[in-house]
Every structure is written in C-alpha cells, then in structure tokens.
Amino acid sequence: MTGIAKGIGRRGVLGAAGVALAMPAVRARAQAAGVKIGLVAVQTGPQAALGTQLRDGFLQGLKHLDGKLGGLPAEVLVIDDELRPEVAVTKVRAAIERDKVDFVVGVVFSNILAAIVRPVTESGTFLISTNAGPSTLAGRGCNPNFFTTSYNNDQVHSVMGQAAQDSGYKRVFVLTPNYQAGRDAAAGFKSRFKGEVVDEVYVPLTQLDFSAELAKIAAAKPDAVFTFMPGGLGVNLVRQYRQAGLANIPFLSTFTVDEATLPAQGEAALGFYSAASWAPNMDNPANAKFVKDFEAAYNYVPATYAAQAYDGAMLLDSAVRKVGGRLGDKDALRAAIRAAQFRSVRGPFEFGANHYPVQDFWLCQVAKRADGKFQTETVRKVLSHDTDPYAAECRMR
C-alpha cells in the first residue's frame, strides 16, 4: 500500500512540475479568500474549437458576475486536457493538490471525464461537467460530488428518435461512426423511433469521403436519415450530402450541425435538423443577454458547449452565495449546488436524483441570420421535463 501511495505522490509532484511548465494558465485574480476553478477544456488537436467554446462560455459567465462567484473573487486555471486521458489526470491532480482548486469544471469529451472523475471526487472536490454526460455516471455509477449542467448523451439521440416518430417518418436510414458513442447514438435513436430502420451503416472515425454511404442512401430512398457525426466528420458529411443532391431527404442529426461546425458547413447545412436542450434563439432574458455579450466579446456564435459552461458559472455562483462563501462545509455546498437556484439560459433548470438536469428538449433547425451567420433555431419542443433513462438506477451514497 505504501508503494502505491508513494507512486501517487511522485506522480503528483511530476504532474505539478509538468503543469508549471506547460499549462497555459489564465489567472484572473490571485487572492487567498477566493474561489479557485480548474477549467478543463481541450485547447489543442482537431477538437480544440469545442474546448474554446466551453472556455469562452465559462469566462463570459464570470464577466457577467464581475469576476466573482457568490461574492468571492474567482480565479480560473484553464487546463488543456489535450484529449488524452493520462494528460488530463496528471494536470487535474496537480490542480487539486498544488493549486488547491475548489471546483473542477468543464470537460468536452466523455473519455476525459471518465479518467478524471475518481481522482477529483475522491479528493472531496466537486466536479461539474458542462458537456460530457455519460450514462456510466448517470445510473449505478452516480456520484455525490459529480454534477452535470448538460444532459445524458442518450437523451439527445432519443429526442431525435421521438422527433422522427412525431414527424410520421416510416423508414429511416441510420449512419454513425463505428465506436461506442456511435453505437450508443443508434441505440438511443431507436429507443423512441418505432418505424423501420432500413439500414444501419457504421463508418470508421477517420472517414473523409462519404460518397459510398451517400450512394447507399440514395438507393435506399428513406423518409429521413439519422446521423451522429461530431466535428470534422460532420463537416464532410453535410457538405457531401448537399452536393449529392440528397437534401430533399430530411437530415436528422445529433452533435453534427452546431455553431462550432456551422462556419465550415455554411449554406450546405441550411434546413438540417439537430436535437438540443438549448439554441441561441431561445427567448428568455438570460439567454438574450448571454448571446449578445458573448458574440460581442468573442466574435462568433455560441454553441451548446458555451451555453452549458455559462450555466456552470451561474450554478457555482448560486451555490457559493447560498452557503455564504463557506466552501469548507461540503454537505451544505452539495445541497446548494443540488438546489440550482440560478437563471439558466435554457429557462427552467433543475437537477434530478442523479445530479443530471431534468429539462426540456427541442428539435432545432439550421437557419441563416440577418447578419449572414448561421445558427440552430428551435422548431418545436419534443420532450418536456425529461429525466434521463438511467436516473432510476442511481442510489446516491
């Protein structure tokens, strides 16, 4: 046992050294009686755009709060996880042990979250995911020190299944990447879609050219296509789908057309569908203020990554305020986060028993704004006050 303890200690020290050398830390303010946040957001590699959205969303939240959380000055350490779990663990450990952060916030990808969830929560630090929402932490693996301001991934796919069902589509073609999240997407869609799935096609994650799949879709003549193609995959698919003249077949997607990819997809994505719990055009005062000031500060349209991170900042603000700044009282702080007394950009917001939000989900569609930029806009509400399918399995200890 001592060997293990020593090993961890040494890794911690090494990690701290690594972070001191390599971590691009944004230090807002350094004061003893403040709140320290470790903001985990991927800043390098092909998915960096998503991490940038997340970071900017959280920082915009802090700006609206005058750099304070619950009245205490806030200091943010931006941690680049490099989309590598081992790097994320090392840097997050250093943030907890050396920098003594009070909260770890952020995380775009589920595999990074899976790697850091134990090191963070077992140290007694609260982990607030603002994007990744894996099923593993929603059901039996739910954790009292873990919260998410986003959703359970399966919910979003099932929303599209319900939307396809509601639209009366009978035959749907399913196209996803061949890895766990891709198969989960297909399963989530089918959990609510009761029509016929004419074909399920799985493509490698490195796919560049979808011409073979597009020819198959044309041959199958489905009522609609359901797909989950995050990042660059989605950029390629959407443009090639349009070029192949298939755009008259409704394009139902999750995490494929959003404000992070729309600048590259442009006109090609116009009219394509996505499912989300938030869109930039949502009509409430908190959202109007967020979108307007975010675009003024960062000069691009925010996506869900930014909106959920903004909510994360507001959530922490409400919780720290509720406990009167006494961050040491973990039980009171947990209850205060759980209460979630803040104005979400999504409108109503509450946590379920498993610390995942219970919220409305929308069918959204890509639209062109008057200023020429593209964004997703709500079409209709698909699920109201939806609890994720795993919440019942959660026994919070």
């Binding site: 092909p46 020819a215 442009g266």
Partner: protein, 306 residues
Amino acid sequence: MSLGLLLVQGLNGLQFGVLLFLVAAGLTLVFGVMDFINLAHGVQYMLGAYLGASLAAWTGSFWLGLVLALPAALLCGLVLEWLVFRHLYERDHLSQVLATFGVILFLNQAVRAIWGSAPLQMPVPALLEGGVQLMPGLQYPVYRIAILVAGLAVAGLLWLLVERTRVGALVRAGATHAPMVAALGVDIRGLFMLVFGFGAMLAGFAGVMAAPVLSVDPGMGDTVLILAFVVITIGGIGSVRGAFIAALLVGVIETLGRSLLPDLLRLVMAASPARQAGAALGSMLVYIAMALILAVRPRGLFPVRG
C-alpha cells in the same frame, strides 16, 4: 445492390484513388529519388487546402485561389526543404522520421494559430456546381468528376515528364544510381530540390482540389498520409506508375469494401453482427490487401531498385 449503385461506387473509388495518387506521387518521388522519408508530406497537402481556401476567399474566385495556391504551395515546400529537410539527406531514416514528425506538429499548430481551430470552407466553383443523374435519386456532383479528370490529366503529364523529358530521365537515374548521376556532373542537390518542390506542389494541388469536398481543418493531412504510404508501398517505392495503379486500387478496394462487405456478410450472418463486422473488416481491407500484395511481391507491384 443494383448495377447503377455498383457503377457509382466504382466511380467513387476511382475518384478517391485519384486524389490519393496526387498525394502519393510526390511522396514516392521524394522517397524513391532522394531516399528521404518525409512524414510532413501530409502537412503540405493540408497547407495547400488552407492556402487555396483563404486565397479563394480573398480573391472571391475559386480559380484564382487554385492558380495562386500552387506557387504558394511550391514556395512552402522549397522553404521547408531549405530550412529543414536538406540538412537531413545524409542522416539515417530515424532522424528523418523524427524531424519531419516535428514539422507535422509545428505546422499543425501554426495552422491553428493562424486560421483558428474551427474548420474552413471553400465553395465549389459555379462552373462545376450541380450534379449528373447517374442513378435515380443521386446527383453525382460535377465537381467530383472534375477531380477525377484533373487527377487523370496530372497523371498523364507526370508520365510524360518522367518518361519523356531530360529532367525525367535524370530523376529516374537519380532514383537508381544517385552517386553515378552526381559523378556525371549533374547537380544532384538542385535536382533534389526540384523534385521536392514539385512533390509539395502536387500535394498542395490535391489539397486545393479536396477542399470543397472535405473539411479543411488542422490535422486533415494525417489521415491522408497513412493511406499515401500504403499506396507507395503497394506501388513500389519511387515508381510513379506504381503509385498510380496502387492509388486506384486502394481507392476502389476502400470504397467497394466499405459499401459491399456489410451486405455480403449479411448473406451468412445475422443483420446486426454483419453490420459491425462488415464495418470493421471494411476498414481493414486496404491493409489486408497490402499485406497480401507484399507477401507475393515484397518490393511492391512496380519495384524501381533492382
């Protein structure tokens, strides 16, 4: 599986193959003639796409973007050669791999610093917009046919250049007997630089051609690079003809395997495992084909060195 679909898939495979050839041609020349492993070749493809996309946006014309991107890509290649690569010709392959890998990391980050990490878009030129109805419901984009034609034209030009001109003869001679060519008074350094710049320009051309179809993002060259290495290994290192045949082979195997295998497996298995196994096998097929070809012909289909 109708005949029309099969035809379209075959065409898709050829078109993908031609794009691969444009990247692989430069790679095989550099590797074959200079005995230099250039992992950064994929990055030159990426640079071409970025230069093309931003020059097209700047000038407002795809054609101007294409025409300006070619000398820009050539220049980038020559600068890289002058700055980094020429210091590595005498070193062993490991040093070359390490240094050119470093160039990949550097340029991927540089591209991100200059253009941002969100993917760029490059519109299809108006002349090549729209599609041809090859099978019911599917418009085969004219632009993809243009890629096919442009690739075949470049292949023809390259063949003429390598087989029928003095420079081509020197390049071929340099590939097999470099010291002898140098002893005959040919400036082998200059020849190398020419080959290198030309290879970089071809990769850049492939990048510009691919930009309207694929997403232009940092790291787009990395996936292409792996397949390009498969192509030059199958084709025989240094052989442009081999690269051409191998690229078409890889393109067709990749595309047809991906689309046909799940359906074929469904004849002998249940639908769900057939889809999974088909998808997995489909992405392995190119490498299985490479292993088989190398087992029969260890030096590739058209070996250059005796």
